[in-house]
């Protein structure tokens, strides 16, 4: 019985993908240590506070209080590694031609809506796709733009005088801080969905991100074309 090998992710892509995991963990954690010192954000509907960022039990559980200095030290050292990794990823994706799989094409928004309906069990067929389906293209391209957004809003609050033009362009110092925070919440939401989809897509897809290829026995359903989604 012949077997199909689908070469999926290149070595550089895999390394840069996985490096984000520890780097973002450290940056989000240290960002939390910093945020605690002035934790003013909340979700509200008129005068009704729906959610306060963050409840006391949350801080206690993660040992957050009174660690601002430590948080800044980790944040302002590891941010360089995160930025370098992101920059290398973008350069690699552009020059290797991988961007062709990634950047959403015409009709991607409609197609990604169909993917969402499919994944929710409300639609039978998936739109045709190459390496990534339309929803993946939109999500992965967005997360790169979000990364750029975090770097820009981060610099706007890190050097608001020397980079005053940037801070002003982002709506001012306080606005840039809020934007930096919202983007971080965005990463966390992305991560939750990403993780759920990886679990759903199954073993072969996960192997693709570790080993670089999928192994599909002919005659078996092909996860890549049918349900793969992470």
């Amino acid at each position: 019985m012949p077997t199909k090998i689908i070469h999926k992710h290149r070595l550089a892509t895999r390394w840069m993908h996985w490096l984000n995991f520890p780097l973002l963990t450290i940056l989000i954690w240290s960002g939390l240590l910093i945020y605690w010192a002035n934790d003013v954000y909340e979700l509200r509907l008129g005068n009704l506070v729906l959610f306060r960022f963050f409840p006391e039990w949350f801080y206690k559980a993660l040992d957050v209080p009174y660690r601002l200095g430590e948080g800044m030290a980790y944040h302002f050292v590891f941010m360089w590694a995160f930025m370098l990794n992101g920059l290398l990823y973008v350069l690699y994706t552009v020059f290797s031609g991988e961007w062709r799989y990634l950047v959403p094409g015409k009709g991607a928004l409609r197609d990604s809506w169909h993917v969402v309906l499919h994944d929710l069990g409300l639609r039978k067929e998936l739109p045709p796709q190459a390496k990534y389906n339309a929803a993946q293209q939109v999500a992965y391209s967005s997360i790169i733009l979000m990364g750029l957004g975090s770097v820009l809003t981060g610099f706007a609050i890190y050097k608001p005088v020397q980079l005053g033009w940037l801070t002003a362009a982002l709506g001012g110092y306080e606005a840039a801080r809020a934007e930096h925070f919202v983007l971080t919440i965005g990463y966390v939401l992305f991560f939750v969905i990403h993780l759920a989809q990886v679990v759903r897509a199954g073993w072969n897809n996960f192997r693709g991100m570790v080993a670089g290829f999928e192994i599909v026995r002919e005659g078996e359903p092909q996860p890549t074309q049918q349900t793969q989604e992470s």
């Binding site: 077997t3 199909k4 601002l68 360089w80 290829f213």
Partner: protein
């Protein structure tokens, strides 16, 4: 995306290769975790509670060396109309400000000169120098900010008036409260920035509130609030980095905005 059909034998090779890849994956993860644990075991800089691990301090110092090189004095902090300033600036931090051990009437600013002599300057003498007012967004390292209105003499004009050319040629300025409980170190370029003031007015009134640093405090808009030392007792100049209260407690030394 390249797809190939392979024989059973080659498929087995791929299966083996994928296990090796997982082995490498977990080895890399383990190495990363070991690196993290190594970082947590490194000595604290300065060895005091609240300090940070030495490699992190080295990282911050490396950034500082880049930032000080590119520090552009021509970049001014954004100024606001007086009407936008808060009437009552927020109070934060009271180290070195014990009200019982201090008499405003006895106060004089002490400047240690290059020849070792101390220059004593009274508040009235300072008020005789040209006054500069600034309304800017005061930024606390904790993350809040507030538009405040301050008035005083530019540090650069003060230094010029008292002939401190030799002193300000040194790379660092140190300042401390009279009781030496609170102290900061600042790069001289930032101290000489045209918006850096020795302030004796707050919100358009004489600065009399001891909690805000009466009679004289530093207003240095190109730094976070922690460098804006209240109740200045002593000023000195140095080739080496002067001690800095919050840097000793883990903050970045430079914190230039």
């Amino acid at each position: 995306m390249k797809t190939e059909r392979v024989s059973d034998q080659t498929a087995k090779k791929y299966t083996r290769r994928s296990w090796l890849a997982f082995l490498g994956f977990f080895a890399a993860g383990g190495a990363g975790f070991a690196g993290w644990k190594w970082l947590q075991r490194q000595p604290l800089d300065g060895g005091i509670r609240g300090g940070i691990r030495q490699p992190l301090r080295d990282g911050l110092t490396a950034s500082e060396n880049v930032f000080t090189r590119f520090f552009n004095k021509a970049r001014l902090v954004k100024e606001y109309p007086k009407t936008e300033a808060v009437p009552k600036p927020r109070v934060n931090g009271n180290v070195g400000l014990d009200p019982d051990l201090f008499e405003v009437a006895d106060w004089k600013l002490n400047v240690t000169k290059a020849d070792g002599k101390t220059l004593e300057v009274s508040l009235d003498e300072l008020k005789g120098l040209p006054k500069t007012e600034i309304v800017f967004n005061f930024k606390c390292i904790e993350g809040w900010s507030q538009v405040q209105h301050w008035g005083g003499v530019r540090f650069a004009e003060f230094a010029q008036h008292y002939g401190l050319a030799k002193e300000v040629a040194l790379p660092y300025v140190g300042m401390s409260t009279p009781d030496e409980e609170y102290y900061v170190g600042i790069d001289t370029a930032s101290a000489l920035h045209p918006q850096t003031l020795l302030a004796y007015e707050m919100s358009g009134q004489p600065l009399t509130d001891l909690r805000h640093g009466a009679p004289l405090r530093l207003i240095i808009p190109v730094k976070y609030g922690v460098k804006n030392l209240k109740r200045i007792g002593t000023v000195f100049f140095s080739e080496e980095k002067p001690a800095d209260y919050w840097a000793e407690r883990g903050y970045d030394y430079y914190i230039g905005l």
